[in-house]
């Protein structure tokens, strides 16, 4: 590749990524030259401004048709735009959360935290835009490595260290599994570009290959489900969530999980869409039972284990495992619904989880405990904290007039709208939702029915803004989901996802 070719690419499609990269670099330099004693808090503003700028750039890119650069390894299509909005929005809210997170342990590493967060975000954005196994993997690793460090940022906190260690070990294993699966894909097709893989997969008609394809699918799928904390690779989540600082937990819970679904959709759907399975039937139909069992197991394990948790961060870890199970359900729907359903659910998921973590951060840092008892009598102490928390919990439980209900309703539509409706999967989802009522409403009961010692919780301005924004979004999306759905249909064309672009390479006559 000579310079001319390099310059001929439309680099503007990567503008949001460049902004994030630039701000992250700037932050690391500033952090390096700042005095050791001076507070790193103002850096949050810079990081936030960078994310906001990237977000605005994405909105300005909405009209750009599907483009790809670097020989179709990097794409700007509806899919990447839609999910990048979620990633950026989630990180922006996490930044606000972190700027109000007071813990001495974190203070000395605060500067580090911001540029690591942006680096992780950059990795997630690369995952959303990549169309090549190599770039996808680089994005995944950038996100993972930054996350490992962030989980252990509270250096003197044993739990935080434990969290980082467990995360890096189990994450490494998952990466190995993913790579192993990808090596099969490469071995079968001889390509790393997703679309070329899809093309070659469709041409594989030899019977002995079909088992290898199924094998490649299952291994890759299993490895990629690590990030979304789906069973059986879910064990890391409770330990990591418990030990990591609250903003990091929120980031892992929301942004990292969204990125996990992004890469899952990219790799699985594109690579295997035309692949024949055993006896030449489409593989995506053939592996449906496997995905369904995985989804059902995730829902059951997440919800049932959450019942026994007294530690609020662990409870939310299991709750997020269960939610991952719900979001896996659309994978069996085999229609274009899958994108809007997952996108909408993740949008709702973002608001309700960041909102809930805002409240958790305020309460746990004031009381110095992670026990569920921190919610005791919250309604009488701080009604302005208890009421939004109630909305978030109702949304997580999927009660109407909240965004969570609409998301779940959509997932039901996906599960029951097939040629052969998956009644039992819908039944498992509904039954586990009922189980989740017990622990979700337990928090509500503790907030409203128990007496308290009467200490008020002070809410800093930034946190109040996040709370208000999340609560309003949860309610508005619950009453008028069309606001988000119309935005989705109006700006994003899911067909672009499958559109292969022939990169025009300028050939110069020398």
């Amino acid at each position: 590749m000579d310079l001319d070719t390099l310059l001929s690419f439309r680099w503007s499609v990567m503008l949001p990524e460049f902004i994030i990269l630039g701000v992250a670099t700037l932050l690391s330099v500033i952090d390096l030259f700042m005095k050791k004693e001076s507070s790193r808090k103002p850096l949050a503003w810079l990081a936030g401004a960078g994310i906001l700028a990237a977000l605005i750039t994405i909105f300005m890119q909405l009209d750009i048709e599907v483009t790809s650069i670097l020989y179709d390894t990097y794409r700007l299509d509806s899919f990447s735009k839609a999910f990048k909005i979620l990633l950026l929005l989630g990180t922006l809210l996490v930044i606000v959360l972190s700027s109000n997170y007071k813990k001495e342990d974190l203070e000395e590493n605060r500067g580090e935290f911001y540029y690591l967060l942006l680096a992780a975000l950059l990795g997630a954005m690369m995952m959303a835009s990549s169309a090549d196994l190599i770039t996808l993997f680089v994005g995944l690793e950038l996100l993972s490595l930054s996350s490992y460090v962030m989980a252990g940022l509270e250096r003197r906190n044993k739990r935080s260290n434990e969290s980082a260690f467990k995360y890096i070990v189990s994450g490494g294993i998952a990466t190995a599994i993913t790579l192993f699966g990808m090596s099969y894909i490469f071995g079968l097709t001889g390509e790393t570009n997703l679309f070329k893989i899809a093309e070659n997969m469709g041409n594989l008609e030899l019977l002995e290959h079909s088992f290898l394809i199924v094998f490649a699918f299952i291994i890759t799928f299993a490895g990629l489900t690590f990030k979304i904390a789906a069973a059986p690779l879910h064990m890391w989540a409770p330990d990591v969530y418990e030990g990591a600082p609250v903003p990091v937990t929120a980031f892992l819970n929301v942004v990292s999980k969204t990125a996990g679904f992004v890469i899952l959709l990219r790799v699985i759907i594109i690579c295997f869409i035309a692949a024949p399975g055993i006896d030449k039937e489409p593989i995506l139909l053939q592996v449906q039972p496997y995905v369904m069992v995985l989804a059902a197991a995730t829902m059951i394990i997440g919800n049932v284990t959450a019942l026994r948790q007294r530690n609020i961060k662990r409870m939310f870890a299991y709750s997020s495992i269960a939610q991952a199970g719900y979001i896996l359900v659309p994978f069996v729907s085999n229609s274009s619904l899958i994108f809007e359903l997952i996108w909408f659910y993740l949008l709702a998921y973002l608001f309700m989880n960041i909102g809930a973590f805002t409240v958790i951060q305020l309460l746990t840092s004031q009381e110095g405990s992670n026990d569920i008892g921190v919610f005791r009598g919250l309604f009488r102490r701080s009604p302005w904290l208890a009421v939004p928390m109630t909305f978030f919990i109702l949304s997580l439980a999927g009660i109407p007039i909240t965004a969570g209900f609409i998301g779940k309703f959509g997932i039901f539509m996906g599960a029951l709208g097939l040629e052969q409706p998956q009644y039992w999967l819908a039944a498992v989802m509904m039954a586990t939702t009922l189980v989740s009522y017990v622990y979700y409403f337990n928090i509500i009961a503790i907030m409203f029915f128990r007496d308290s010692d009467g200490t008020k919780v002070s809410i800093p301005g930034g946190m109040a803004a996040v709370l208000a924004f999340c609560a309003a979004s949860v309610l508005i999306l619950g009453v008028m989901p069309d606001l988000a759905l119309d935005f989705f249909y109006g700006n994003f064309d899911v067909n672009e996802f499958f559109m292969q672009i022939e990169t025009e390479v300028h050939t110069h006559d020398h």
Partner: protein, 505 residues
């Protein structure tokens, strides 16, 4: 045509919420008055709606329809959209039930004067509950119905768990879980129907399901699917009604919840189960409903007898009334199972009549509890001497409950059994035993309180003027329907006719 009237009616309780948000929470008196005025506004709107409602008119009236949510699915054979509308409307049946809701709500708000703490949040939840109840009856599609159905769930959970008696939290949880099971089944059935037919509107669904089987096969709707849906719906509403053996949560709620909330729960919320059975069960799947009629009738008789037997052995007046509700809901099932005009009319009459009677009786028990801190039968006796008006109203309510001619209970029981004797005489004959048992347990309980040796009561003053309002209004309504049932049956006739038409009657 969009008139907005019905939407205003549905969301009218929110006005009270809005005003309450700006009222200081320690100002007990203002809050209680806002509580009453806030329920009077929906009642007024309901009366305006009633005057705009054409009684003899057929079908849906005052309908409103707006595009709400749309899902687009791109498929190989073109884009298919699954639109969900906001559609409300009333027919005779829902009009009557909305009216019942708003009346009982006002009276329950008056009865809420006995609430001792946290009046502000109490009334906010109370209004949300009322909104949910009105919405359930006005909704004209499955999505909206489900949303309002669930909206009633959350305020009830709080109202029971926060303002109830000793085991309130247990009662709140069992309410939540049992009803959650019902809702879960309901949601799966609703989405399944939506995905098969592409519509959620009641009328369109009824039309689609009434198409000949050859056309339905093209839409992948088999007979088995229809039967499965009906069973799912019956199961979901059986929890709500409740049908034995799914009734334990309801008894717990009736014993533990504060009296005004029990008035609403027993008076209105249980009726959502009956309404659902009529509108979704008999309305959408008439053929399948017919084939299950015997089972439904059997469960009706079991409910009637089982509830009555248990009511006979209870020592707590609240429990007597709770089991009496179980027993009386059996009559709704009996009427529905008859599949004829008399039975159907009886079932609907029972819904309205029991709504009034149980609201009255639970109100009176609440009064008694407030005076003495007990509702055990053994703690009372000879109340008639010290509280004559109270005793009189209680006796009248009891007589209405056992179906004395001239009161609303008589009409409904008579009609329901008349219907069932026509189609299933043996079952009906067994069922009549329940009527005798009803007389026994009602009189046993009522007489034990009002007559006999006088027991010491710390605070035995008769009904105060604020307490008389709900008592007399409910009694008057019970008598009015008992003496002049034609008013009600005229309202209901077009709706019932259309359902009976579907049943082939």
């Amino acid at each position: 045509m969009n008139t907005w009237l019905l939407s205003i009616l549905i969301f009218s309780p929110l006005l009270g919420v809005l005003v309450l948000l700006f009222t200081p929470s320690h100002d007990e008196k203002s809050i209680k008055w806002i509580g009453i005025l806030g329920t009077l506004f929906p009642l007024g709107t309901a009366l305006v709606t009633l005057s705009a409602f054409n009684k003899s008119g057929d079908g849906l009236q005052l309908a409103e329809k707006f595009q709400w949510v749309s899902y687009e699915v791109f498929q190989t054979n073109g884009d298919v959209s699954y639109p969900i509308f906001y559609e409300v409307g009333v027919n005779g049946l829902s009009m009557v039930l909305i009216l019942l809701t708003t009346i009982v709500s006002v009276l329950a708000a008056i009865a809420s004067f006995s609430i001792k703490k946290n009046w502000k949040s109490y009334f906010i939840l109370f209004f949300l509950l009322e909104m949910g109840m009105i919405g359930v009856f006005a909704a004209q599609n499955l999505f909206l119905f489900f949303i309002f159905f669930e909206i009633t769930l959350i305020p009830m959970f709080f109202l029971i768990g926060r303002w109830g008696y000793l085991e309130k939290e247990k009662a709140a949880y069992s309410f939540l879980i049992y009803n959650g099971v019902g809702s879960a089944i309901l949601l799966i059935a609703f989405v399944a129907m939506f995905m098969k037919t592409g519509t959620m509107n009641f009328e369109q669904l009824a039309y689609t399901f009434s198409l000949p089987q050859s056309e339905l096969n093209e839409m992948n709707i088999t007979k088995g699917f229809k039967m499965g849906m009906l069973i799912a719906l019956l199961l979901a509403f059986a929890v709500k009604l409740p049908v034995a053996p799914l009734h334990s949560w309801m008894v717990r709620v009736h014993v533990q919840a504060p009296p005004p909330i029990v008035m609403l729960h027993s008076g209105i919320l249980l009726k959502i189960g009956a309404y659902g059975l009529i509108v979704f069960g008999a309305g959408l799947f008439p053929d399948q409903f017919e084939s299950l009629a015997f089972v439904i009738g059997l469960f009706g008789v079991i409910n009637l007898l089982y509830g009555a037997f248990l009511a006979l052995t209870q020592r707590d007046m609240k429990r007597v009334l709770a089991y009496s509700s179980v027993s009386h809901m059996g009559i709704v099932l009996i009427g529905l199972a008859a599949l004829n005009e008399a039975g159907m009319t009886g079932a609907v009459f029972q819904v309205v009549s029991h709504g009034l009677i149980s609201a009255l009786l639970f109100f009176l028990v609440g009064v008694l509890y407030e005076r003495s801190g007990s509702s055990q039968l053994k703690d009372f006796g000879g109340v008639a001497k010290r509280m004559p008006i109270f005793a009189g109203v209680l006796l009248a309510g009891g007589l209405a409950s056992l179906g004395l001619p001239g009161m609303s209970g008589f009409i409904s029981e008579f009609m329901a059994f008349l219907g069932l004797f026509e189609t299933m005489p043996v079952l009906a004959a067994i069922g009549t035993l329940g009527l005798i048992l009803t007389a026994v347990y009602v009189l046993r309980a009522v007489l034990a309180i009002t007559f006999g040796t006088e027991k010491e009561l710390t605070n035995a003053h008769d009904l105060s003027s604020t307490e008389r309002i709900p008592a007399f209004i409910l009694l008057a309504a019970i008598l009015f329907i008992g003496i002049y049932p034609a008013w009600l049956s005229d309202m209901l006739r077009p709706t019932l006719d259309s359902i009976l038409l579907g049943l082939g009657g």
